[in-house]
Symmetry: C2
Subunit: 474 residues, 2 copies
Amino acid sequence: MSESDHIAAAPPAAPPQDSTPNEVMDEETRLRPEFVNKVLDAVEAGDDETARQLVQPLHPADVADLIELARADEREGLVKALAGIVSPDVLAELNDYVREDLLDELEPQQVADIAGQLDTDDAVALIEDLGRDEQQAVLERMEPDDRAAVEEALSYPEESAGRLMQRDLCAVPEHWNVGQVIDYLRSTKDLPDDFWEVFVVNPSHHPVGTCKLSLILRMPRKTLVSDIMQREQTLIPVDMDQEDVGLRFQKYALVSAAVVDENGRIVGMITVDDIVHIIQQEAGEDITLLSGAGEGDINEPIQMTVRTRVVWLVINLGATICSASVVGAFQGEIRRYAILAALMPIVSALGGNAGTQTLAVVVRALATNQLTSANTAWMLFREFRIAIANGIALGIVGALGSFMVLHDLKLSLVFAMALVINSLVAGLVGVLVPLTLDKARIDPAVSSAVFVTTMTDVMGFFSFLGLAALILTR
Amino acid sequence: MSESDHIAAAPPAAPPQDSTPNEVMDEETRLRPEFVNKVLDAVEAGDDETARQLVQPLHPADVADLIELARADEREGLVKALAGIVSPDVLAELNDYVREDLLDELEPQQVADIAGQLDTDDAVALIEDLGRDEQQAVLERMEPDDRAAVEEALSYPEESAGRLMQRDLCAVPEHWNVGQVIDYLRSTKDLPDDFWEVFVVNPSHHPVGTCKLSLILRMPRKTLVSDIMQREQTLIPVDMDQEDVGLRFQKYALVSAAVVDENGRIVGMITVDDIVHIIQQEAGEDITLLSGAGEGDINEPIQMTVRTRVVWLVINLGATICSASVVGAFQGEIRRYAILAALMPIVSALGGNAGTQTLAVVVRALATNQLTSANTAWMLFREFRIAIANGIALGIVGALGSFMVLHDLKLSLVFAMALVINSLVAGLVGVLVPLTLDKARIDPAVSSAVFVTTMTDVMGFFSFLGLAALILTR
């Protein structure tokens, strides 16, 4: 029955059983606060049975959400009440910090048991954040097979493909036919839970092609695998950074990919469901990085958050002192012409805004590989033209506005000129700062903003007060 | 042969044929500028043959990248030289604006032919951005079947599941067994190119379960589908916004999902490869939205970019005039104590920084559904404590620093107090502004920043100059 059959007349019937009933979940797949409170109230009242009944039908990802939405001091009680429902899968779905807190309450043997029930990649995620001693204690209590897999994964750098991959995969020799593959799949127990493609390997275990399961299902049993496999394949080096893995999956619309060691031999596979949250996280964290809030995880211990943010604030304090010293040099002008003090923050603020606009676009284009050295010059020219257009527009609006209020033609002219100059500065540094940092292999999202706003502040104050000194107050 | 067999001794051999040779692509899967220039130089020299030979081995996604990396005025020549290589799949991979430019050069019949060779979702993406008349002209020239599919998709709102889904899918009745499913798959031509799960439907075409292909392959032919299907399933309403579709795929680690109409009947399916770039895009665009640079697409026509950015700059100009008027009210104090003019931008800038840090974290937490009304109060309290800690740290550093330079105890005290006050203001508005906008169903990423920085500017100037007026200059 193909899809077109479905469109044919069919009697209306009850809507399907969606796994997310409406009293529990809103239309954006968030747990409703009423539901969260109902569960937490039941736990607080000691009525574990009600709490369990409410939570039982939820998907592990939603149970994890529920635990995250509880206050830190409510979580332990909640997890105790839900014993049995808080499965290893729930723990795998939990935010790193929340999970770490919960694991701290468990014995190494319990953690080892949980890890043993997870896929290698999830077990690694569980164990990698533990302290060195605790990690060792847990590893010692795991089954030898599982332990070896986790230890191998941990031997690869953090955030690398080696940590993300599953070691279990389905690989077949090229001389097999479809029937042999199907028989092999039916008879072999030791296969991953989820796989979507079969990897075809040569005798020295190098992947030579991939074959979608849908193709295997649809071809006659006698078809040779090597006749239907796709030979162009995207291989993932085991030490590749997870951000680059994510970009490859996205670019080539991959559902799974073979991971190969430095000799090109297949050592594991990564499936798209393991990488989707990394794509989301890597794409999303630039916004908090750029603001100077680090990774911005709301479950991070508050001391860590304060430390991350205060470092950037103090760096910014230093930077603003630079620009303040520019103002300090013009105290004579300001004393004579105090209105300058009111207008100068406008010039610096608008420069900062324009610079941040450019910066955000460039950081984004760099992160998505849209901006490379092949089109840098074009990008710079593009932002230069935008800066001129914006600067002229702001200059006109600023000149007219200030003249209407202050009736000082010279002052309005100085104001407009400073706006144009600072818009140009903003456009140039907004492109050049992140590009330079990127070339120096420093993440431009982390460190660009302070450079850009310092430049626009300094140049904003300097151009405005300098022009004022030249034209108005001499 | 399971993965553990691979680990067994194997003779070293030549590395596998990766589809991305090193002279073409760098380690971050970007086309090397030397390669891009080689192709463009060949095209410019009229040597189409060389250009074609260079580009032939590339994946369609990389051909699309190549076209995007060329300058706008080089693209038409490049595409002409690569005729035949620039397949419908390449067009589907192209940036919207670049594709639109290229399609403008084609006759409606040519566009119709291209659309006919694509999956419905890609054909829709191709056609939805065309002008109304052009769209009509293309649709009229398409095959009736394809046309009906595209027109149906276009009847759903922009950026909804209905536009993303494929109408072709594989659905089977619950009473079938595995053997019947395999025979059906082998004998039916009209199936999607890629599918990873079979949807099980009841007689009225409501999905009742899903069955992974790997499970179908591994079970004996006599097994009933209804015995092995997964009954908990995540269904996607056809009018669901693509951002929410992306969040569902990510949350539940889906590889494909059935799309249902308002009566719960299956009307299509969405596969993860169609949604990965949307997850990336939705997660990434908040950074440019928050900066006031719109979607920040570097291929957007420059007039559109200028318009988007200048609107935000002018709004910001208005906002900074508010804060400038606060400064204006204290001109008397500034005239007497010009150093105030140098210190006040520090107070407002640090407030702006702290506010932006909080804002970025809150916008991110809202976008990822980590912040809901269930934990709003906790979040506010968390940011309040961070703001106090940061404010005190900044106050101490600021007081010491300013005292060392200016030797004015009272001034340093005023400066420190203003820093603490503005840090608190920043923390509060950084949480409350985006939450309020979100409640009002306005995208907080788009409009929060101007409110937050205006508040921190106004309060920064007011607290500092006000305290100065009270303590220093009276």
